[in-house]
Symmetry: C2
Subunit: 156 residues, 2 copies
């Protein structure tokens, strides 16, 4: 016990490290399953499109980036076969971006990997503590944003 007094590890650092750990492990395992071209933002987009298709602007708002950035991301996702652009029925300016079968398969793979990772985490704490972690983080984020989960903005 040299000097435990110095400085507790900043919570921000712990959050960053835990996040990176999760994301890095996810992408390692995805690559092993044949999804080597997946970028972190893909998941957020596909999760939104799983329920129903959306426009480029929808996705820009979802991610909290400009529509130009969203457009480029969709380019990449479309090249990878995860989404498809189609003409929009009601609005000739807009395009409908829809998830593809491959996109849905990716989501299923991601969810399986996340389940595995969360089990691993629960093994070093406990099922209850992991539940509390999830609940508390959600509460904290929602309170700050008036009960709604905000856009993601994965990086910074």
């Amino acid at each position: 016990m040299k000097r435990e007094r110095a400085s507790p590890i900043p919570l921000a650092r712990l959050l960053a490290l835990a996040y990176r750990q999760l994301i890095d492990a996810l992408h390692v395992r995805l690559a092993a399953e044949g999804y080597a071209d997946v970028r972190p933002a893909f998941g957020y987009v596909l999760l939104a499109l799983r329920e129903q298709p959306g426009t480029g602007v929808d996705i820009a708002l979802l991610l909290g980036v400009t529509k130009q950035a969203a457009s480029k991301l969709i380019d990449v996702m479309e090249r990878g076969g995860y989404v498809r652009r189609k003409p929009h029925g009601d609005d000739a300016r807009a395009k409908t971006i829809a998830i593809t079968a491959r996109g849905r398969k990716l989501l299923v793979a991601v969810e399986a990997i996340y389940r595995g990772l969360e089990v691993e985490w629960a093994n070093v704490t406990s099922k209850e503590r992991m539940e509390a972690l999830r609940t508390d983080l959600r509460t904290i984020v929602e309170v700050e944003h008036g009960g709604q989960l905000p856009a993601v903005r994965p990086t910074s």
Copy 2:
């Protein structure tokens, strides 16, 4: 209760949102105190240099980036007056990077802000839950890295 069954919010998303929330609030408050030029990586560097000076390579390893990237960051931090480069006593190739008085003041300000933010978080959960959060995150990260906290790599 429409469809609660759909999909639980991924833990990764909660971690990312909580992290951003903390970092964004920190920088807003720092700017209000006259530290508008502070970048997220500053804190990690200053925290390491608070105990003792280090070299550029030390900082590159700390951040998990190349020494070129570290060098540029140090340029910025030196321009801001938070660190100072000095010739290294023992090694004429190396330079000693030391924290300045302004750097120390910034750390004190950061810590005060973090304390305030963690109190705010504890107000929406509880002191005990926040303690558990910190403990569990630390455990999870340490277990994955053999009992040691790894480098930061803030973004990605």
